[in-house]
């Protein structure tokens, strides 16, 4: 039992003390038995306060520490480190959350907030009294990292990690690398095309002995934890032999009688059941689309490289960290949304493919296109729909596309039906350039989106224009381009496998946007690129390199110290009924014989401290440090007290 406890109550510069009477809280706890000193401080987290606390610990020989401040998610690590610097075991530190769960939650009720803060601090004091010292558990960390997704973010992270000497498994669900960027030609702000960027990155990882690339591969199971994740990878067959004949394969594509919508070109063209998306695509081998292949055998007749005997494989890998860079899907407009489905209405990604296919004249469905109407924020900033967020990249991407059309074709007229152009930062120059080229900007009211109708073979877009004080303006366009935003992947099963939480916008969520922007609540799993939220290429690269730095710091030493908060069995009272082992999701509990008696034993490095075994034990023989009956029940008594 701790008897020399230091209690520090933070004002948080008013965030707490504006609503909680901090003085009253200190008065209420200062005479509790075992409390050696109680202090209130403007910012407990400030360097000087931290120094004061650690000095107090060593000078006054404190054996327990309570800091009442903000959420432990923010500062538990800070103050447990302070405890350690003062010479205290960090498990003799208890954090009391009186900001997020008191002052802010009850800013409407100062008396109630103060009363609650007193009880919470008192409960923290009884908890620290019962606390014990613990030592971290040291485990080996695998010096390997799984990077999920071989788009530009994933490939860039893989290259960086490989350069740092880490074994990288780069796992891509498609049969080709490059992700969304391979669908782009000219890139804004660069001299290279999307395909060139992809090729460049691929060549770098391809020559690297530290990278193993799996295509057609998907993680279907994850177990273990930080430092030692066990993942199961399902690899679907490509049905092409490793040693293959390129000319014969081209012939095979030619003779394939199956034609399906080409999703690489967003369904504006058709492709065969044996296909590759473009000539220089990597790996430089076509694949067979198993869903649509009829096994007619035509390809086998002309090509010796086809191998239908290839089977699905399951591969088990052990990695120290997982970096998810699984990307986004473009928003798919609904039938009738801004004229979607009435003929010459396409999405921006489709339009980019069309530009790519048309050399000197812009032709769509046999007609030359001159007048183009872009409708912005389709699937983003929705007034009625679920997507309240801005997709960030699209204003610039659209203006850049418009500039491209001016450069590539003659007599193009662009009309931008926007909701306020968001060319942030240096991208402003793109907006300037489009304006100089004579593009016309029309802005609609939030609740009055443009209307698209078909009129005499032309598609008409009509709005009430803010920029000309509400006059009704309409444009007859040869082609309407819906500027579709980014959405989280429709198939986000990988998130379920990894158990990464999603935010309100359904993108994967970081722990803290500013403190830990690439880490997730699952220790050892980092996120990068557009799976975390809409980003342009440079922003994706920054997040990929940041995530690489974070994942690297987990595995680089080859060992990790883990939280010692794990289940403990009381050997005296345990009678082995097996219910704990049944409840354990990690197979950490097994039966052993000790002194002629069957009892449960916990595997220290496998137990994750979830506590699922605690309530199922009929003889109440399992406890967990930090959450023992003594600690929890004494807290309950204090919180209940009047």
């Amino acid at each position: 039992m701790k008897s020399k406890i230091g209690v520090y109550i933070c004002h948080c510069g008013g965030n707490i003390s504006d609503y909680v009477d901090v003085n009253k809280v200190r008065e209420a706890v200062k005479d509790i038995e075992g409390v050696e000193i109680s202090v209130d401080t403007m910012f407990a987290c400030a360097d000087s306060s931290q120094k004061q606390i650690s000095d107090d610990i060593s000078k006054k020989q404190l054996d327990g520490l309570v800091v009442a401040s903000c959420s432990p998610k923010l500062h538990y690590p800070t103050f447990s480190a302070v405890a350690e610097r003062g010479g205290l075991n960090k498990y003799n530190y208890v954090h009391a959350n009186i900001r997020e769960q008191v002052s802010w939650a009850h800013s409407d009720d100062k008396i109630g907030a103060t009363e609650k803060a007193i009880k919470i601090v008192k409960a923290a004091i009884v908890r620290v009294k019962e606390s014990v010292s613990l030592k971290p558990i040291e485990v080996k960390a695998q010096k390997s990292i799984a990077v999920l997704g071989a788009g530009v973010a994933g490939m860039r992270a893989a290259k960086e990690l490989a350069d740092l000497g880490i074994q990288v498994y780069l796992i891509e669900r498609e049969h080709f690398v490059g992700g969304r960027i391979s669908q782009l030609d000219y890139l804004c702000g660069a001299d290279e095309t999307g395909k060139e960027l992809v090729t460049h990155l691929y060549e770098k990882i391809h020559e690297h002995t530290n990278v193993t690339l799996f295509t057609g591969a998907e993680v279907i199971k994850k177990s273990g934890s930080i430092g030692n994740f066990k993942i199961q990878v399902k690899i679907t067959p490509r049905f092409i032999k490793n040693e293959c004949n390129r000319d014969e394969l081209l012939k095979a594509i030619e003779v394939c009688p199956v034609e399906v919508d080409d999703d690489f070109n967003f369904n504006i063209t058709k492709r065969k059941a044996i296909y590759r998306n473009y000539d220089s695509e990597y790996p430089q081998k076509p694949t067979i689309d198993n869903k649509n292949c009829t096994r007619c055998g035509e390809c086998e007749k002309v090509c010796s490289s086809i191998d239908f005997s290839q089977k699905e494989e399951i591969l088990d890998l052990t990695v120290g960290s997982i970096l998810a860079a699984t990307g986004f899907d473009p928003y798919q407009p609904k039938e009738g949304e801004f004229g979607w489905g009435i003929g010459n209405v396409v999405t921006l990604p489709q339009f980019r493919r069309i530009i790519n296919m048309c050399d000197d004249k812009l032709i769509y469905k046999g007609k030359e296109i001159k007048d183009i109407a872009y409708i912005y924020c389709v699937g983003s900033r929705q007034v009625d729909g679920d997507n309240k967020y801005c997709s960030r990249y699209c204003c610039t991407a659209t203006l850049y596309t418009s500039i491209l059309t001016h450069k590539k074709y003659k007599d193009i007229h662009s009309f931008h039906f926007n909701r306020g152009i968001r060319t942030y930062g240096k991208q402003e120059v793109i907006y300037d350039e489009a304006s100089r080229l004579g593009d016309i900007f029309l802005q609609s009211y939030e609740y009055d989106p443009p209307e698209v109708t078909k009129l005499n073979g032309k598609t008409n877009v009509k709005i009430e224009d803010i920029l000309t004080s509400g006059s009704e303006i309409d444009v007859d366009a040869d082609l309407v381009v819906l500027v579709t935003g980014m959405e989280p992947r429709n198939d986000c099963s990988i998130g379920d496998v990894l158990k990464i939480p999603k935010g309100r916008d359904r993108f994967y969520n970081e722990i803290h946007m500013k403190l830990r922007p690439v880490e997730t609540v699952i220790d050892g799993v980092t996120i990068a690129g557009a799976c975390q939220g809409p980003k342009n290429i440079m922003e994706s690269m920054n997040s990929a390199l940041s995530a690489a730095a974070k994942s690297y710091s987990i595995v680089n030493k080859g060992e990790l110290s883990l939280e010692p908060i794990i289940a403990k069995v009381d050997k005296e009272t345990c009678v082995w009924c097996g219910k704990c082992a049944e409840a354990c999701p990690f197979d950490a509990i097994s039966m052993i014989k000790e002194n002629g008696k069957d009892i449960a034993e916990i595997n220290l490095s496998v137990c994750k401290g979830c506590g699922m075994c605690l309530p199922v034990c009929e003889s109440n023989s399992i406890d967990m440090d930090g959450f023992t009956d003594l600690e929890i029940e004494s807290m309950i008594s204090v919180l209940a007290g009047s």
Binding site: S71, P72, K73, N97, R99, E100, Q101, V102, S103, W104, A105, H106, S107, D108, D109, K110, I111, G112, A113, E115, K116, K119, I120, A123, K499, P501, G503, R504, N509, V521, I522, I565, A583, P585, F586, K608, G609, C610, G611, M612, L614, P615, N620, M624, F627, D629, I632, E633, M635, I636, S637, L639, A640, G641, S642
Partner: protein, 136 residues
Amino acid sequence: MNISANNDLPKILVFSTEKISDPAVDMAGLLKLHYPPRVYTIPIPCSSAVKPRWILRAFEQGFDGVFIAADGTDCPYGESCTDKTGAIVQRTQEMLKEKGIDAAKLRMAAICSVCSEAFVKQMKTFTEYLVKQKTN
């Protein structure tokens, strides 16, 4: 407005979870979504770790209600969590009935890491329910 001046306001003990529901409770504060101040939270690693004896203890000591802010399907420790927490609640409710305590004074709902509005709503309706029980 000082609601707590009313000493009859019921006391609720919430078991939240460190990684999932406690962040939602934090966010309720961050967004200044107010709820009755006599709601006290004990964060634990997982909602399937709540021992029935802790719940019984809470009622013995004077709590009017106990709420388990469960991980639900977001549980970082496995999909079985929802069922396991459900089983704990069911078992404890039977124990409560035996003791003559209204089983509805123990509630559980899945609170995801951004479900702060749902949490606040739960706290408000639960308080209302407990007030009604008290006055009856």
